[in-house]
């Protein structure tokens, strides 16, 4: 899973106005449908750290009929930090943990069927891509869903392309691995 | 130059069958041009009175020979048109090939040389063949005649190569020549319009002049005929071009059948293309129907004169001249029809990918074939009608002038010509229909 800065995402959600913890979690899950849902506990601890670092502060407590909730809002420093983070480029990953490649090499080393593995992996990737495509083409899918599904689809597609070219060069790879 | 020659040879050798068609037909056209040129040269080399064994005495005297040479010169026009049409075979592919050469780094001059070398040898072959057949027929040619033969035999291939190099200026200019969208043919330029107005003015002068002077009447007959013929043909071209768009639009809006719709929309999209291809058809219709009418009047007149003993020479002397003219017109018609068939086949070849897609989508062959025929038939109908009426006008005018010995009949025979020409054109266009089945191969679906 892609590691995202929960701190900055919560700051971003607070930028549109004061909000309480439960509301922040709900809005997060709505905005980033393909991301892992936030645990409430994680929201709570992150908010406390933001307050400690002076990036957010407590606005007050409110209870509209239900249980009492603490409202948070972003500070000036919080806005500055958010702007800095949002403008900073994400470093292109220097190493990609490529489990598929490792499995192909291991299966060559151990005399397994790398080609059959790649076919099965391909089928699994395609199955996931079909699910994501169905999700994004479902009537009434909102743009956030479409975009996050697209992000995942493009990454799976990149894996697939790599698997296709690798499958076509397995013979050469096998002789290279065996020779070493 | 050696490298260019080798490239031209490699390109020709590796090309498909259509390229060999182009080479064969170009050689044939060149052979005809050379033959006509040689005949004209050998006639011109005669001086004074000869008794020539062929032609019923038509080739014996100097002035008659001049007329025959002039007629041969006129016959060169359809032959050259035919050569031009041959250059269009495979034009799309040649354009791409040469543009690819440009992209690969060939200089414009080099591409032009290669193009010239691709068609020059074909013309040379035709010219050599014609010379080899023709010259032995001539006993004891004089030194100037030899010079003339050599000039004609050399000029034809050089001209052919020059024309093909010239026709490629657009491709040569841009390495991306083949990317260009096939644009609609432009309407006639300023030159065409000026010439038409000039012809009209000349005709007006010829018609009006006798009013002011008595001595102007029939002496300008042949000139008047030529001016009138050209004017009518130009008008017919203009008319067919400018009416095609409206005709296409009108028909497309009302079309109920798919083939009419397709043909009408093609016409609307590119009205001048048809007009250009059909210009020669219209010229031959005017000349043909005019000639048939004049011939009818002339023969009636000659027969009357012979009965009354007014004929200066043998009747065969006159009829041979008429028959020779008829032959020349028929040869011209045959050449024009061949050009038309070549043009139809080429247009089919250019569009074969789209046609293959239509066939794959289940559009029946019959619909595609009928659309193809209608594309020729629709624009030609009004133009041939105008040309035919013009030809009838010419012969009627001649009949009204030639009233010395007979009451001239109304030359209705002239009316048959436009119908005959129209039918021949449809047949010529129909020759491409067997190609349709071959063109719509699914293999065509795979390429852009």
């Amino acid at each position: 899973m892609i590691r995202m800065s929960t701190r900055h995402i919560l700051l971003g959600l607070l930028a549109s106005g004061p909000s309480h913890g439960y509301d922040l979690k709900r809005r997060h899950d709505e905005r980033f449908p393909q991301a892992r849902p936030l645990a409430y506990g994680q929201v709570y601890t992150t908010l406390q750290r933001l307050v400690r670092d002076g990036l957010a502060e407590i606005e007050g407590t409110a209870s509209d009929g239900g249980p009492e909730r603490t409202q948070y809002r972003s500070t000036e420093d919080g806005s500055l930090e958010l702007a800095r983070w949002a403008g900073e480029i994400a470093p292109p990953a220097p190493f990609v943990t490529n489990e598929i490649f490792a499995k192909v090499v291991v299966s060559i080393l151990s005399g397994g069927d790398a080609d059959a593995y790649l076919r099965a992996q391909r089928a699994a990737h395609m199955q996931r891509m079909r699910e994501l495509t169905a999700l994004k083409t479902a009537p009434g899918a909102d743009l956030a869903t479409v975009l996050s599904a697209d992000y995942a689809l493009n990454h799976l597609d990149a894996d697939l392309r790599w698997m296709t070219t690798t499958a076509a060069r397995l013979t050469t790879l096998t002789s290279e691995v065996d020779a070493a | 130059m050696r490298a260019d020659l080798r490239l031209a040879w490699l390109l020709t050798r590796g090309s498909d069958r259509r390229e060999w068609w182009r080479i064969g037909l170009t050689a044939l056209g060149a052979a005809m041009a050379t033959g006509i040129g040689l005949a004209a040269v050998s006639l011109a080399s005669l001086d004074g009175y000869y008794s020539v064994s062929v032609g019923s005495g038509l080739l014996d005297s100097d002035s008659d020979r001049r007329g025959v040479i002039f007629a041969l010169g006129l016959l060169l026009i359809p032959v050259l048109g035919f050569l031009g049409q041959c250059a269009r075979i495979g034009a799309v592919h040649r354009d791409r090939r040469l543009a690819a050469l440009r992209l690969a780094g060939a200089a414009p001059g080099q591409v032009r040389r290669i193009a010239a070398l691709e068609s020059g040898p074909a013309c040379l072959a035709g010219s050599v063949a014609a010379t080899a057949v023709f010259v032995p027929l001539w006993s004891h040619p004089t030194a100037p005649a030899w010079a003339g033969f050599a000039l004609v035999a050399a000029a034809v291939p050089v001209l052919g190569a020059a024309v093909s190099a010239l026709s490629l200026h657009r491709v040569v200019a841009s390495p991306l020549g083949w990317v260009r969208r096939v644009r609609a043919t432009r309407g006639p330029g300023r030159l065409f319009k000026s010439v038409t107005w000039l012809l009209a003015a000349t005709l007006l002068f010829i018609v009006v002049a006798p009013v002011f002077s008595d001595s102007f009447a029939f002496t300008h007959g042949p000139l008047t005929l030529i001016v009138l013929t050209l004017l009518i043909s130009f008008t017919a071209v203009w008319l067919s071009g400018s009416s095609s768009r409206q005709l296409g639009e009108g028909l497309a809006a009302r079309a109920r059948r798919p083939e009419v719709l397709i043909a009408a929309e093609r016409l609307r999209e590119d009205p001048w293309a048809a007009a250009r291809t059909h210009a020669a058809v219209l010229l031959v219709t005017v000349v043909g129907s005019g000639f048939v009418g004049v011939r009818q009047v002339l023969l009636a007149e000659l027969h009357t004169m012979r009965r009354e003993g007014h004929l200066a020479a043998d009747l065969a002397y006159y009829t041979t001249g008429i028959d020779l003219t008829a032959t020349a017109i028929l040869v011209a018609l045959a050449l024009i029809l061949t050009s038309l068939a070549v043009g139809a086949a080429e247009s089919l070849a250019t569009r074969r990918r789209g046609l293959a897609a239509q066939a794959a989508a289940g559009v029946p062959h019959g619909v595609l074939a009928r659309a193809l025929l209608l594309e020729t038939a629709l624009p030609l109908a009004p133009a041939v009608a105008v040309a035919g009426i013009g030809g009838l006008g010419i012969s009627a005018w001649y009949a009204s002038v030639a009233t010395d010995y007979i009451v001239a009949p109304v030359p209705y025979a002239a009316l048959l010509v436009p119908f005959a020409v129209y039918a021949c054109c449809l047949l010529a266009a129909a020759t491409s229909i067997p190609l349709l089945r071959r063109s719509v191969r699914p293999a065509e679906l795979r390429y852009a």
């Binding site: 099965a120 697939l160 | 719709l261 397709i262 989508a361 289940g362 029946p364």
Partner: protein, 234 residues
């Protein structure tokens, strides 16, 4: 065998068995077998030259295989006369290629109306229905434009409307998005999939793009003119 009334989910609508087909010396298909069920969207993928297009041409009755059989709704397509095949392509099948299927001189509206006119509809009725289909595919306001004036995506959606206007049982799409960018490609594929699902039309989709193949229910991979063994899904 299908018993005619209710579409039997086990009997395929279109089936090819052991197809071989050579273009000159190149063997495009070497014993390919594939099945398409009613309303199913099947992607055929594979490298360039793996025989995808030839397989589509055989299944759509555009070319005859050298050996093997193609069965559509109980009829052997490889044995039908060309006239009947052409009729079948007009009534039961629809085709979409990468480009070139629209007649450049006809307006978008007339291009879509053409199959209906060929089937005997009047020009007016054909145009009315064609207009509805163009609207469904989001080519509104462009009815009077000609293919050269449409964007690539609009032209392909017009081509889809043309393929689907007669209510075919099977649509054959050969790289329908091959010349499009990913956004236009997404619009074309969404339009195709939604319409096919609504109408219960089966789609045979040829593509080399996994993201396009993911719109299908199932994938068949061709390698060297035959169907590659399916991966064993864990």
């Amino acid at each position: 065998m299908s018993n005619g009334d209710s579409p039997d989910s086990t009997a395929p609508l279109l089936a090819a068995r052991d197809l071989t087909k050579a273009h000159g010396r190149t063997e495009a298909l070497r014993g390919a077998s594939v099945e398409l069920r009613t309303g199913e969207i099947l992607a055929v993928t594979g490298a360039s030259g793996s025989g995808k297009s030839t397989l589509l041409h055989c299944l759509a009755g555009i070319v005859r295989p050298d050996a093997g059989s193609v069965t559509y709704a109980g009829q052997r397509l490889d044995q039908l006369p060309e006239k009947r095949l052409s009729e079948l392509r007009r009534t039961d099948f629809g085709v979409v290629f990468q480009f070139g299927q629209l007649i450049p001189e006809l307006t978008a509206l007339d291009n879509v109306a053409l199959p209906l006119m060929l089937a005997g509809s009047s020009r007016k009725d054909a145009q009315t229905r064609a207009g509805e289909w163009l609207e469904r595919f989001g080519v509104r306001g462009q009815e009077a434009l000609r293919p050269g004036e449409l964007s690539g995506g609009q032209a392909q959606r017009t081509a889809l409307a043309r393929a689907l206007v007669t209510g075919p049982k099977v649509v054959f799409a050969d790289e329908p998005t091959g010349a499009l960018d990913s956004l236009a490609s997404e619009q074309v594929m969404t339009a195709l999939v939604h319409t096919a699902r609504d109408a219960g039309t089966a789609v045979l989709l040829i593509t080399h793009d996994a993201q396009v193949a993911a719109y299908a229910d199932r994938e068949v991979r061709l390698t060297d003119g035959a169907v590659a063994p399916a991966g064993v899904t864990a």
